[in-house]
Each structure stands twice: as C-alpha cells, then as structure tokens.
Amino acid sequence: MRILIIEDDKQVASFISKGLTEAGWNVDHADNGKDGLFLAATERYDALIVDRMLPVVDGLAVIRTLRASHNSTPALVLSALGEVDDRVEGLKAGGDDYLVKPFAFSELLARLEALMRRSAAAGAAPATVLEVGDLKMDLLRREVHRGGRKIDLQPREFQLLEFLMRHAGQVVTRTMLLEGVWDYHFDPQTNVIDVHVSRLRSKIDRDFPTPLLHTVRGVGYRLDTTP
C-alpha cells in the first residue's frame, strides 16, 4: 500500500508518516502543493493525504486538478482547527473524506482504511447480502440472522450494523458512525453513540459464544470474527 502525504507542517507530516510506516505502509511526502501534484499525477498511490493550506498550490486545487485529469485516487483532506465547516467545500473539490486537526492517529488510520476499501469496492456490483462470520444481513429483505436465528433490529440499529458490516475488520470511530449513520458532522460530545452500539451488541452478541462487535479502547469499534 502506497500513500502520499502532501503537508507543509513537518511535525504533522512526520507524525503521520511514522504511524503509517509502523502500520506497514509505504509513505511518500511532499511539503508543497506543486511537488505534491507532480508526484500524485506521475506515480500510482492507493491514497492521498492532503493538507488544505499549502504553499505554492492550495490543497483543494491539487485535488481539483487531479480529478479534472481523471485521477480518482482517494484523497483525505486535512484542515486546521476551527475550519470544521469547510468540509462541504473540501468534499466538493473532490476530496473523499475530511479530517480536522488536531486528530488522533487512530481516527486518521480508520478513515484511510475505510476510504481505500470504498474505492476498491467501487467497481464491484452492489452486494445484497453482507456476511461477517455467522452473522448475515440481507439488504433486500432487511433481515439479520446469526447462526440461523433471526435477530429483530430497529431501523436505526439496522443502519448501524450495516455500516459496521460494510467496514468489517476495520476500526470505526464514533465520529464516523455519527456521520455515516446519522449524517451529522459534529463531535458527539458524550456517550450517545456508545449506548447505541452497546444496545446493538446485546442483540447480536449476547446469546452467542463468540463476540463479533469489539470495542477498541479510546478509538471506537470493530466488527470482526477475531478479537
């Protein structure tokens, strides 16, 4: 997996780069928009991490230029604290996700993984059945079974589980859940999301020997057959 970081803040760049390298990725770094655009256009990357405010060429302009030349490498836009609400602009420019600095590395990693999986699955036919271990979700009949037993879910619980199953094996953060399931983009202040997740867990895990829905401490949740 190859990642390009276009970021002028050296500390942030080395923080991301170190983390991604530890996670086993190949990382390239450009510290201005012009070099970044050149690298992104000439090399093949699995994902881009682009800071909004860059010297020479602005981050959004980099993405816009790439998209105009039919380069659809998934891009995650980073922006400084307090510019939370420029996300619409960032997404309009062709960014695939948006993250506000300062962020936890785990959040960045979770979002990057989700991005890359989404782009990998983009060409495939839309799935009608999702499966994780013995948990099965039929999207057409809107039914969930585990181990052959039917599980009754509220509509929102169904959406929540669908989101988790689509990101099976990945860490999903609370903010990602609020965005993906409720379509709101602010920080969930308290444990509202956790309560929803623990309810869902009680329905899909309680009566079964192996738990599927795991809590990743300090980060979020992961739906997986292995703990």
């Binding site: 609400d85 709101y184 602010f186 969930p188 202040q189 509202v192």
Partner: protein
C-alpha cells in the same frame, strides 16, 4: 498653503454662503424699489419733455422758425417754476431763443437723450436732461428739464442702499458666526470627549444639554454606542479571563502529570493514555470556543437554507433515546413534519444536541424529558423540558455565558460552553432563547422565525 483654521470650518463657510444669499436678496429688493420709485419719476420727466418737444415741432411746422421762437419765448415767460429748459440755435450754434445763454459745451448722450450741466450764472450748475430736434435748415431745438431733484433723490437712495447693504452684511456675518460658534462649541465638546475615549478613557460620555435638539440626539446616539462598546469590551475581557482561568487549571494538571511521568523510568501505558484523554478534553474545549466564535462571526449565515426543524428534533431525539432509556428516563418527542425554518441543519442539530445532553445529564434516573416543536403564527418554538433540578432564576441569564457552570454541577463532565453555543446559534438564526422553570426542572425555549412559504424547498437528505 492651507487656509487658517477658521476659514476651513463648516460654520465659516456656511456663514459666507448665508451672507452672499442675504446680500443678493437685499440688493434685489433695493433694485426693485429703485425701479418702481425713482424710475417712475424719471420716466415722468422724460414724458413731459417728449410732449413739449412734440408740441414745439408742430408749432415750427405750422408757423415756421419765427413762430417757434415766439412760442419758446412765451413758454419761458410762463414757466414760473423755472424748471424747463429751451434753446433754439442756428447752424453756427448761435442762440436764437430760449432760456439758456449758449449751446452746452458737453453733452452726455444716452440714446436719444442728452444730459448736460446748465450754468446758473452765479457759478452753480444745474443738471439737465434734454432732447435735441433738428428744425429747418441747420437749426436745432433743445428741450429739457431740470433734474436736480431727481439726482438728489438718486444720491440719497444710493447712500441708503450702500449703508443698508453694509448693515445687512455685517448683521448676517455676526448672526452666522454666533449661531456657528454655538454649534461649533457643541461639536468641539463631542470631539474632545471622543479624543479622550480614543486615548483610553472609555467611561467618558458626551454631555447632553437636555435641549432635545439634533446635537442632543447625536450625543445620545454616541453615548448609546459607547455603552454598547463598553459592554462588548467587558464581555470580551470576561471571555478572555474565563478562557485563561478555565484552561489554566486543566493545563496545569496535565503538565504536573507529564512532569511526574517524565521522572519515572518506565511510565505506564494507562498514565500516558490518561494524559491523551486530558489533552483531548482541552482540545474539545478549544474547538467548542472556536466554533462559538465562528458562529458568532456570522460565517454560517451565507449558507442558510430552509430546513425542517421537526425532522432535526426527531433525529436528535432518536440519537438520545438509547442514552435516556439506559437511565430509565422517558424521552418524549412531539414534532410535526415540515416545520420549516431558515438556518443551518448542523448548527440547529448541535444546539439541540447540547440541550438534550444537558437534560439527560441533569435529569435523575427515572425522570422525564419532553422535546416539542410547536407552531406559532410566524415562528416555531422548540422546547426541551426536563425533570432535573433546574436553574435558579437569578442564575439563568449567566448560564448562557461561556464557562458558567452551576456550583453543584462541577463534578459532572462538561466545559460550560453548551448553552453558550445554543445562544450563539439562536442569535445567528434571529431566534429567541429563554430558560424557564418547570417546577421542578428546566424548560429551554428556542423560538425560530418560520421560513417564508415561497422559500426554496427544504434540503432533504
């Protein structure tokens, strides 16, 4: 070169304009009076001369030059007033008849009229206006009238005009300056106060005379503006102080913790994670502060669109339903569809999230929370009522400010910015936010103006 200060003032310029206008109108008035009195007398004199010369010309035609001479002699004799002037001369300007001894040496021509000075014989001269008519071969007849009186009146009038105009100008200059200087004094006072305020003395106020004139109005408006500025400054200072105060203690705690960890040979993972959690909490507070500041700056207003307040209420209630259930709290949501208000969906949702967050946090287990969206003629009222301890009336106003927390609530998580954000959101949406008593419990009412019916349809997502 710059004009001296006096000449640059508005009052001086206004005074000059005032003087010019006044002088011009007085001049016009005098001209009219002159024309209708002296002009009349002059025209009358000229009419008499014209009538006489017409009569004499007739006589000359009928009775020849000799007859004319006789008539002239006769008229001179009969002229008891001695105001008429006659003179008939031959081609060599020798007098033949009349009461003037010789043809005048200087004649001022004014069209067909001539003016000259007739010698009185005793060294004095009399101004005469006359007409000259050619009669017979080379003979000339001059008929005129003594216009001494006319000239005298003219002179009197001219003198009166000059004095009158001078007096008028003087008085208008004086009046203009008097009025101007009194205005100038008031303005100077305002300027003096303004300079003191610029120099940093914000408590200064422009004096109000109580006359109720436009200067008072200006002074009152300036004072109101200063009050507002002072209030804002105080608010700003308060926020600054609060930020410093409320962020200093957690920062100090974090620092102390890190320092003690630095001294340990192998710091534990739990301790380091606790530090991250503390730093995150600090960042969350900063984020909330920045977000409030950004909301207050009006940055979101440009993207306002009609949104369904009812749907937002149902969404957020649903988000909190699970958290309420867990504590045995009944969360009731009563919101109609299509409660359209003009605003930002995210901001309104976050405001309601903050309100529900508080409600769930402070309502005891087994309590009750009601969320209601109700239509009033021109607005929608969003109400969040809980059965918690409520907020004492004296504290309610203060609770909407940043970093205010009730004494009893300091042990619960929170940064004291929740209601401040709700207030900022309400203000940006031209809404009204009120805290009330539910006996027991708190009622928060957020009234938002309804969207115009012809506004573009709501964003549906």
């Amino acid at each position: 070169m710059r004009l001296p200060a006096l000449f640059r003032t508005t009052i001086f310029q206004l005074t000059l304009v005032y003087m010019a206008l006044f002088g011009a109108s007085v001049l016009a008035l005098f001209t009219f009076i002159y024309w209708s009195t002296l002009g009349y007398l002059e025209r009358q004199t000229e009419e008499i001369i014209e009538a006489e010369i017409r009569g004499l010309a007739e006589q000359a035609e009928r009775r020849g030059l000799v007859g004319l001479a006789d008539v002239i002699a006769e008229r001179v004799r009969r002229d008891s007033e001695r105001r008429s002037v006659y003179l008939l001369v031959d081609a060599a300007l020798r007098p033949i008849a009349g009461n003037v001894t010789h043809w005048p040496e200087r004649l001022d021509r004014r069209g067909e009229w001539v003016d000259f000075l007739k010698s009185d014989g005793d060294g004095g001269y009399t101004p005469v206006r006359a007409l000259v008519l050619g009669v017979g071969p080379g003979f000339r007849l001059l008929v005129g009238r003594d216009v001494r009186e006319l000239e005298q009146i003219n002179e009197v009038f001219r003198r009166a005009s000059v004095w009158g105009l001078g007096l008028t100008m003087g008085l208008s200059l004086l009046g203009g300056l008097l009025i101007g200087f009194s205005a100038q004094r008031r303005l100077a006072q305002i300027n003096r106060t303004t300079r003191q305020i610029i120099a940093g003395n914000l408590s200064q106020r422009v004096p109000v005379t109580g006359a109720g004139d436009e200067h008072d109005e200006l002074a009152e408006n300036l004072n109101a503006m200063l009050d507002q500025i002072e209030k804002l400054m105080a608010g700003l200072r308060h926020v600054g102080d609060s930020v410093a105060h409320d962020l200093r203690s957690p920062l100090t705690r974090l620092r102390a913790r890190l320092e003690s960890l630095a001294n340990e040979p192998a710091p534990s993972r739990e301790d380091l994670e606790a530090c991250v959690v503390q730093a995150d909490a600090l960042l969350a507070t900063f984020n909330a502060l920045l977000r409030i500041a950004r909301i207050e700056s009006g940055a979101y207003r440009s993207a306002f669109a009609p949104v369904d307040l009812g749907r937002i209420a149902r969404d957020v209630c649903e988000l909190y339903q699970a958290a309420a259930d867990e504590r045995g709290i009944t969360l009731e949501c009563d919101a109609p569809v299509d409660a359209l208000v003009v605003g930002d969906r995210e901001l309104l949702a976050q405001a309601l999230t903050n309100l529900l967050d508080n409600a769930v946090k402070y309502t005891p287990d087994g309590g009750r929370i009601e969320v209601r969206v109700a239509a009033t003629p021109r607005a929608y009222t969003l109400t969040v009522a809980d059965s918690g301890p409520g907020i004492p009336e004296s504290e309610r106003e203060r609770m909407l400010e940043r970093f205010t927390r009730l004494d009893g609530s300091r042990s619960l998580p929170g940064n004291g910015l929740g209601l401040a954000l709700v207030k900022a959101v309400a203000e940006q949406h031209d809404g009204r936010l009120a805290l009330g008593d539910r006996r027991p419990g708190l009622v928060v009412e957020l009234e938002l103006p309804a969207a115009e019916p012809d506004a573009p349809s709501a964003r549906t997502r």
